[in-house]
Symmetry: C2
Amino acid sequence: MAGYFGHISMPLEPVGRNGHVHTDEELFELTEDGQLPTKYGKRTKYEDGSSIDWLHEEAAERERLHSLRSQAGARGLLLPLLESARLWFVVIMTGLGIGITGAWLDVLVKWLGDLREGHCSYGFFYNQVACCSGLDPGEQCHEWLTWSESLHIRSIFVQSLLQCFIYVVLAIAFAGSAALLVETYAPYAFHTGIPEIKAILGGYVFDAFLTPWTLLIKALGLALAVASGLSLGKEGPLVHVACCMAFGLSRFFRQFNHNEAQKRKLLAAAAAAGVSVAFGSPLGGVLFGLEELDTFANETDVMWKGFVASAVAAVALQWVNPFGTAKLVLFQVTNAVDTWRAFELIPWLGLGVVGGVLGALLIRLNVEVALYRRNSYLNDWPVLEVVCVSAITAGISYLETIKVVFSRVQASELVANLFQECDPTKGDYHGLCNPTAMWENVFLLILTAIIKIGLTAWTFGMMVPAGIFLPTIAIGACLGRAVGLMTQGLYRAHPTAWIFLSCPPDPSERCISPGFYAVLGASAMLGGVTRMTISLVVIVFELTGALSHVLPIMICVMTAKWVGDALGKDGIYSVWIAMRRYPWLPAVDYHDKGETGANIMRSLEKLVTIEDERFTVAELEQFLETYDFNGFPIVREKRLVGFATRDKLKESLDPFAQGDAFLRSKRCSFSIRDSVVPEDTRADLSECLEEAVLQLRKEVPQELVVSMFQKLNLRRILFTHAGELTGMTTKSDVVALLTSHFPHTAALSQRPTYSRAPS
Amino acid sequence: MAGYFGHISMPLEPVGRNGHVHTDEELFELTEDGQLPTKYGKRTKYEDGSSIDWLHEEAAERERLHSLRSQAGARGLLLPLLESARLWFVVIMTGLGIGITGAWLDVLVKWLGDLREGHCSYGFFYNQVACCSGLDPGEQCHEWLTWSESLHIRSIFVQSLLQCFIYVVLAIAFAGSAALLVETYAPYAFHTGIPEIKAILGGYVFDAFLTPWTLLIKALGLALAVASGLSLGKEGPLVHVACCMAFGLSRFFRQFNHNEAQKRKLLAAAAAAGVSVAFGSPLGGVLFGLEELDTFANETDVMWKGFVASAVAAVALQWVNPFGTAKLVLFQVTNAVDTWRAFELIPWLGLGVVGGVLGALLIRLNVEVALYRRNSYLNDWPVLEVVCVSAITAGISYLETIKVVFSRVQASELVANLFQECDPTKGDYHGLCNPTAMWENVFLLILTAIIKIGLTAWTFGMMVPAGIFLPTIAIGACLGRAVGLMTQGLYRAHPTAWIFLSCPPDPSERCISPGFYAVLGASAMLGGVTRMTISLVVIVFELTGALSHVLPIMICVMTAKWVGDALGKDGIYSVWIAMRRYPWLPAVDYHDKGETGANIMRSLEKLVTIEDERFTVAELEQFLETYDFNGFPIVREKRLVGFATRDKLKESLDPFAQGDAFLRSKRCSFSIRDSVVPEDTRADLSECLEEAVLQLRKEVPQELVVSMFQKLNLRRILFTHAGELTGMTTKSDVVALLTSHFPHTAALSQRPTYSRAPS
């Protein structure tokens, strides 16, 4: 008798009970020969583009563990332990791997970036800091030569021309080679990767996205792209790289390789480790997994693995210690005023609103660019596009020399400088601390932010690995610093105004910390772009160490999210998922307007069903050729018998279909106990019948249908009434419903409207 | 035709469509008269002790909102806005309320605590700090008089005797009056309250737990209990107080008052605000809600409200600013060594293990004490017990004067001192920084920890409001500081040993920070007792500001949880929930061992069902008298027709039962369309039929059944096969399954075995 999704209703027969003890290997061998007493052991093969069946995978894992535990004697104890050890091995190795990779990527980026300005006289592979290390304070560094110094050019005009030329040419070379690498070897290595990871963790099968080649190209391309000075960050791609690592490691162990659900749990932990390394934020990584990837909900053991992977990755990063600081806090906010005053809420709320508006604008622009790229000749010249954009970016950043924008240094340095409070004992970054140049600074900061918004909107989606976090932080930091400078200016101009009563009356004393305003601006902008909340707050203060200012950060993020949500419902990752139409269910609170399940189901008339015992084997084969659905409800008259997936149907049909004419003329019978066909003329296909798919009445609120899909990871729900089939809803129907408000859904999954070689 | 859980299958008829516009009030009035076109508006009344029907409540809310939105004209826009405004009003007011309450409780506790030592000469209501404020540094405070000074006693012996006497008497008076207040006015105000809040948020109905009286008594009793010096903290009770506030406020608004699910969403936000105030940790509050209360999973809007409530509460606390520091960080770790060395992992892992073991021990002891209290004469003398324990506690703490333990100051001061690094420019707390007295200090710290474990295990569960967090932190801090001192001592003795190579070779330089070890010890102990992970890490570093040390904190918490879980599966709150047998489903990953739904269901033979159209009205009344189940499956022969709850059955029966003999002899018919009884002899009870209860086959894995209960908030699942009822599982069956491993399940919900007046 068949049970839930197959044959679990039989009392489980431990493998080793009849005296023969299977080795761990054998358990899998048996599985592949289809000889296990139950059939869950059999690996379901999914093709790229399909969705995994979570319930089936969980059941398979449960059954396999059960088989292991019921092995005789010590093996029954040791094998499960070994399983567990393998799992932790992969988790810890992934953490170590991504920590070390992240550290070395930093080193590579630094070296490549410095190479655009000059080189070290005593060793080509030293970056500027390493080259000049070991000097006494104040001593000038003669070991680091700019290119013009190296070529002994005297004329200042030729010097700057040459420097500029090499700077731009190398930027183009780096970006171009990154694009070429991606285009040639690993087309999936472009972009951030987070939308795809979200989809994969939700059950989407996309193995090509996680190959070792993708890992290598993404890591290398990322270093080149960041070093080229394009407006992009390394955060999202690092998450992708971490997932590739976990995926690669998992291939060595059948327990993951054969079970898609287990593999995804590993990937979730790896993603957390990736964030941990990207921001030096172990806790932020776990919370990112919790909030943005939505994978840990109700899965405490996955969260736990994410926690460990994050911690290990952060330890590894600190241990390699690329810049000799041994600190996780990347953009340490120092010297800020510790307390804050009530009137500051006004500029902060303002920053929140600006962050929300500009975040929504950035998303909108990014979508428009993506659509334009898709539907114009750019679609055929991705490398050329990258080359042009990197040339423009490099050109603009050279404007800094004539004090027009702040963008020559790599974005991370810019951010670090903007987060810094003014300290007379330290150097002043481009006159930011000069009170007389306030309006000039404000103007420059805002201009920089505007230019960066444009560049980022264009860059995010080109054929290079690109993260959106760092550019967003840079934009927000510019705006925040500008607002901070203005507030400070106002205070210095009117130190005794009633609004500044809580400040010291002497304007030379510090009351407002513009560096901290930059942190708030960055938080607000991130809130507007990603629409994350808690994980964002944690990441920001792990990034800056500004723990005592957690409240203002929370307020800014909240405001930005509110404003952003009012202007456009989705964060940038959700928008990309919708554009590519991955089968990913957002974990939003969906509220219907009184619709019922009937509204979302495909009704019986529109369904292709298989009538039990109507088809012969040959006819059923023909039927499967005709319809290419993933599965079919089996009915007897109108009564629902069960469901059969296409794969299983084919598998069960095979023995009959390859037989003689007699076998091929047998009737396909799914529910043997109700059979009306004589035993010798029927083909027993009951093996492929899933009898207990979830059934609902079509009168249930649509809300409940959606929430069941969200929470139980279902692939389909059948609607019945008194045992009779009335309709069916699949995951993709629900995804379509939840993304229907977005105008460009599936815009990137369709055929481009422009193509060089139309067929 | 009836639909899902009633009548939602009919196209929703907007209330205002026929021209008449209902006022908001009317909508509810109509509801109470049962005249709304649909019946969800009708409030289901739950009795204390039952579980709410989430799906019904959600449906009712959805329908009410729909009615509001379909009001004609501007009302259709304004009313939903007004709803939303009310909701945010309650959230923000709760945040404000608990923030202010928390601040004033602190003031009250400080004053009462100081009162045990003396009083202020110029104003009785000043505490010691306030009394002595305004002095120049170094000046001695003559305004604060100890009791013996006040009574002009000269003899040192009489002085200390008197001080000791007043100290102990006041402790007894405070604790005794707290217990008396609780026993007399609000019996539910004792203990921490978190187990109950968890159960309530999970759907348990326990309105008596959240009354204004409970609020008042809990707040007052808490202040008294904390001031009495008992080994308890204010954290859990503050969460309870916050929930009482939200509950009280919600009563003024019908939208919450009439919908238990909406009310619970408010309570979740309030709980987050409570934690936020208790620890000065707004982010920790949200994460506590996420992890420990398990309420926000898949409910982003609830998380969002928790976020806002937490932030508002923290702002309010900071604004009242009870101690004039304007800082949220309560136990600021200062002056710690910023970097840490690899060898320190050894003592840290050791601390993790110790925390796990002692945490499990504390839980075990606490359970034993609770059982003993229940089953001995103590059960009848709760106030006496409190008096005795507070006398003992006060006596022990007086041992500090002769340097035996560190426990005279309130636990929060002790913790603050232990977290402090030694700084020659500041005072030394009880010679902790004296390197020559190291072993003495270690011994004292360990002794203090042991004594505190015993006292805490006894105190937590007595008839006073009591939180477990602070005592646990104190125990952990003592142990951690001891380990830190030992490590430091080892380093000072052997500064050149290979293990200390990474430290400076001169032992007078700082390499190890014992204060930070105290933080780690506290984290480990908390991990062992509460078994929280991420929220705990966030709370600890929001509490201490030790952001750069987040990794060691994570490692300690992880180790402690691992070790603790190995020694006893549940945290202290889960244990209490199990002992009281609240219908609360832990969000654990449950894995069955191959069992199926058949294992957990009550089979048809053991179920009491109602056969459709068999009973007359009179017989059904009799039937309801006989069986006191909450609801009954309705069947026709064996085929499942639906389910009817007891309340609805009674309600539908009423019109017939109060009629004449003819009415009472009618046949009760639930499914009219299949009826075989003539229309004039049947009583139409289809209104009370829930047709679409969730149905499964009994062959599904037990794991899936459990996870459906956990994730979908169900009250019951019916098992059917081909339309025929085979069994039923209710929430309490699943709760019993998940708590079955705990030996003392329901130990406190049963009758005490000892009682003064046995009946």
